[in-house]
């Protein structure tokens, strides 16, 4: 007897789960209902041009280090990505990632770079493409180099501290030019820069630190995502009140009209009383 309520509860639970599961499936919606993702490929391995294969198809031939390719518009799904020496068969790939997951409706950077140990790696970063307030710019800095933890400074002040390989720092700033450099974390030992970055309004500027500290091939690669601008909050362009009359200054006329109507009514009244 004590089992019955439990079973009932279990059955109820199962039904609820099914219902929720169904709802969940609908909420997360199948892949085809989602917009394609924008995938940009960034080459941050010094000294080695590559062919980029996506699902066995050569997509970016002879891709040079320091360059940025794309964006490719890819439906959500799993992708096999391979990098070969230019002209080599896909079987002898330098770097291969199978079943790389691309979510729907995202903006992704796929970065070929060296990891902290100096080995080639392929790392996906999801890019923040949220709209910026008017006048603002977005700076994203990514550590994709065979180098220890670093601080990224703007105008001599650290803005992102202790960034390690595969990690990023991100900030929305006032648009304009900043002088940026990269130092070993917690020190003034400069490993990169300074470089003047013109951070445009309504744009995300993504700066990758690439290469190898040991081989002295450290460099910067940048990618820009435009179109993140918003309109200003308003256009306040008058506080005097003199222009109020430009649209509504007819009061004297209305007055004259009213006097006219009164006169006419008075005359009419006189006419009527006069006839009697």
């Amino acid at each position: 007897m004590r089992i019955l309520p439990f079973r009932r509860a279990a059955a109820f639970g199962a039904v609820t789960l099914l219902a929720l599961g169904g709802l969940g499936a609908m909420a997360t919606s199948p892949a085809y209902a989602k917009a394609n993702s924008q995938v940009t490929v960034v080459h941050g391995i010094p000294g080695q041009a590559v062919d980029v294969y996506v699902n066995g198809e050569k997509t970016v031939p002879n891709f040079q280090p320091g360059k940025v390719a794309g964006p490719l518009s890819l439906p959500a799904g799993e992708y096999d990505i391979a990098l070969t020496k230019p002209g080599d068969a896909i079987g002898s790939a330098l770097l291969k990632v199978d079943n790389a997951e691309v979510p729907g409706d995202a903006n992704i950077s796929l970065v070929a770079h060296l990891n902290a140990e100096g080995e080639p790696a392929l790392t996906p970063f999801v890019n923040d493409t949220a709209k910026l307030a008017a006048g603002k710019t977005r700076l994203i800095v990514r550590h994709a180099a065979a180098a220890p933890a670093v601080d990224i400074r703007a105008g001599g002040e650290p803005v992102f501290e202790g960034v390690t390989n595969g990690k990023e720092g991100k900030a929305d700033l006032d648009a304009g030019t900043v002088s940026a450099d990269v130092v070993l974390a917690g020190t003034d030992t400069r490993v990169l820069g300074p470089a003047d970055l013109d951070l445009k309004e309504g744009t995300a500027t993504i700066v990758y630190a690439v290469g190898s500290a040991e081989d002295e091939t450290l460099d910067l690669v940048t990618q820009s995502i435009t179109g993140l601008h918003s309109a200003p909050g308003g256009v306040p362009s008058g506080d005097g009140g003199r222009a109020d009359g430009n649209g509504n200054g007819n009061l004297p006329l209305y007055g004259a009209g009213a006097v006219g109507i009164l006169l006419a009514l008075f005359g009419l009244a006189r006419l009527v009383t006069g006839r009697r």
Binding site: A133, P232, S237, D239, G247, I261, G267, R270
Partner: protein, 226 residues
């Protein structure tokens, strides 16, 4: 008796004059008042691409665009210098302005005889998008502004923008709209895509002396001529 009879006779005459005079006054005043009503909106800004629509997909995987990863360089300034509107007898200096950090609003130049070009948006020689210039209708401190009579521009009026090196670009008024500030579609007027156009913005409508704000914005859209 005679005088008694005469009075009623002359009375209708005077009364009739009064009626006619009154009617004439009412009709004239009414007509003038109607004619001087705030000008109606006309036209619609030509925007071929809605501001929110994504750029058309590029020719697929055929050729993937390759960009150099060099740090972005500052581009040459494309700043308008003067704005001329013959119909308003206006020739104003244009300042490059951005956003008022305190309010997040358009930083209209405080000096009322100057107008401000939105330096984050399309510039003087833009091939696409809305070049925005805003100016004061008036200010409490300085009186009437450069854009005091902006709302009286008519379709076909010309607006000339002078750019770097004295180059001129002529625009033709195609739309005049008035919106409550709470409802104005600013995204449309600050769009950076669509056909090249010049958008002039000022204040208008009833003035609230308590908040010292106008209720509306007046927006003129002018299409690039040639």
């Amino acid at each position: 008796m005679n005088s008694h009879r005469g009075t009623p006779r002359t009375r209708p005459g005077r009364a009739l004059t009064l009626v006619l005079l009154g009617l004439a006054l009412a009709v004239t005043a009414g007509t003038v008042a109607c004619q001087s009503q705030p000008a109606d909106d006309f036209g619609a800004p030509a925007v071929t691409t809605p501001a929110s629509s994504p750029p058309p997909p590029t020719a697929a995987a055929a050729a993937v665009a390759i960009q150099d990863g060099a740090p972005p360089k500052s581009t040459a300034a494309d700043v308008p210098a003067r704005l001329r509107i013959p119909a308003l007898d206006l020739d104003a200096t244009v300042d490059a302005v951005g956003i008022d950090a305190a309010t997040g609003e358009f930083a209209v130049p405080p000096s009322v005889d100057r107008v401000g070009w939105y330096r984050y948006g399309p510039g003087f020689s833009a091939k696409a998008g809305s070049i925005v210039v805003a100016g004061h209708v008036d200010s409490a401190a300085e009186g009437k502004g450069a854009f005091f009579r902006l709302g009286s521009l008519e379709a076909g009026d010309s607006v000339t923008l002078t750019g770097p090196g004295g180059k001129e670009r002529v625009f033709e008024v195609i739309a005049r709209e008035r919106y409550r500030k709470t409802a104005i579609p600013l995204d449309k007027y600050f769009a950076r895509d669509g056909t090249a156009r010049l958008t002039l913005i000022t204040c208008g409508g009833p003035f609230d002396p308590k908040t010292r704000h106008y209720r509306d914005n007046v927006v003129i859209t002018a299409a690039a001529r040639g």
